[in-house]
């Protein structure tokens, strides 16, 4: 194959024109942009070039007849079914738009770690929180006289 040179771009030779057709076929839209204009000019001015063009077009027509596969609604549904995962990721990502999702995730993780640290190292506050949580659970269960529960945990009576 002839090495593409600047000269070939400026002046289309018959040899290069044939190489273009052999590779890209007869549709100028598929030709390299840099050589398209020169190739079209040659096609207009040369009988031999037009003969080669017709020959390439015949092969193009056959290649274009290859079977195609239509997109089915089932395939679309399968692909869209993967989107709920994306949506959850999108909610996290939307906490800090334009930033990678790991940033808000890291921020959330850091907040949790800070909360755990505060709970561990300030026992008084932790005790209050624990008592409030137990009270809330009993209210929710509708059983403020749950002696059995207190007995079982060893914290009542």
């Amino acid at each position: 194959m002839t090495r593409i040179s600047e000269k070939a771009v400026m002046t289309m030779t018959n040899e290069r024109f044939k190489e273009l057709l052999d590779a890209y076929g007869a549709n100028p839209a598929r030709w390299p942009e840099a050589e398209r204009e020169a190739a079209l000019a040659l096609a207009k001015s040369s009988d031999e070039a037009r003969r080669l063009l017709d020959e390439a077009a015949a092969l193009d027509r056959l290649i274009d007849l290859a079977e195609t596969t239509p997109v089915t609604p089932e395939l679309q549904a399968r692909i869209l079914a993967a989107l709920p995962e994306l949506r959850r990721g999108g909610v996290i990502a939307s906490l800090m738009p334009g930033r990678p999702a790991w940033i808000p995730i890291t921020a959330l993780a850091a907040s949790l770690a800070l909360g755990l640290g505060v709970g561990t190292f300030i026992p008084a506050l932790a005790g209050i929180g624990e008592q409030q949580a137990q009270d809330a659970a009993l209210v929710a269960l509708g059983d403020l006289d749950a002696g059995g529960l207190w007995d079982e945990t060893g914290e009542g009576s």
Partner: protein, 215 residues
């Protein structure tokens, strides 16, 4: 054969410059949609699927020669789109080029698992005897073309699929294939030459039709 990457004046289309000494800035018609997909925008996801699914599906069909496998590849490609959208870096690569690269890689994963597949085998001469071409219906011709495509060596088929069927520019196709434009062009020429030989009876019919029509 010269396989080195070469550049020449005007080789790179405006808006997608990779010329030496210039910053590579790529205008990507899909960039905004991908960004919206990253934010969980289902309408954007549907839009990008509508834009690219038919081509990706048929890329798989032509690379693998099997509709079911092509659908599986297409699904895998879009799952990767959904999961990678948030990490997409606008301006560094065209989304269309990236999605083709992903699809081609997935096709090769499957081709490698097929015992009959051999990458870059020299094609055997084809004894193609379809009968009188004039009696062939279009669907039969289509089947013959598909069979001829299947018989191409993988890399030649890849070049033809990307340039002819997918409509990628020579530069984008070479980028997807990871070769120089010259190497891609050489694969393309060999692919068309092999197809021409395989489909000779059909092409003779086409030439005859041309002459009959006076074209």
């Amino acid at each position: 054969m010269e396989l080195a990457i070469t550049t020449r004046p005007g080789q790179y289309p405006s808006g997608s410059s990779a010329e030496p000494g210039r910053e590579r800035v790529i205008e990507d018609p899909d960039g905004e949609l991908v960004a919206r997909v990253a934010q969980g925008d289902r309408a954007a996801a549907r839009a990008i699927m509508a834009r690219h699914l038919p081509k990706i599906l048929n890329l798989g069909r032509r690379m693998l020669g099997d509709q079911t496998e092509a659908e599986d590849v297409a699904q895998d490609v879009f799952v990767r789109v959904w999961t990678h959208a948030a990490r997409w870096q606008p301006g560094q690569a065209k989304f269309e080029t990236w999605i083709h690269r992903v699809a081609i890689n997935l096709c090769y994963d499957r081709l490698r698992r097929k015992p009959t597949s051999a990458i870059d085998d020299v094609p055997e001469p084809v004894d193609h005897a379809p009968g009188p071409a004039a009696r062939l219906f279009e669907t039969q011709i289509a089947g013959a073309v598909n069979e001829a495509l299947k018989r191409l060596p993988d890399r030649q088929r890849e070049a033809l699929v990307l340039c002819h069927y997918q409509g990628l520019t020579n530069i984008d196709a070479a980028q997807v294939m990871g070769v120089s434009v010259e190497a891609m062009e050489s694969l393309l020429s060999r692919a068309r030459r092999a197809l021409k030989a395989s489909l000779k009876p059909l092409s003779e019919h086409a030439f005859q039709k041309n002459e009959d029509e006076g074209t």
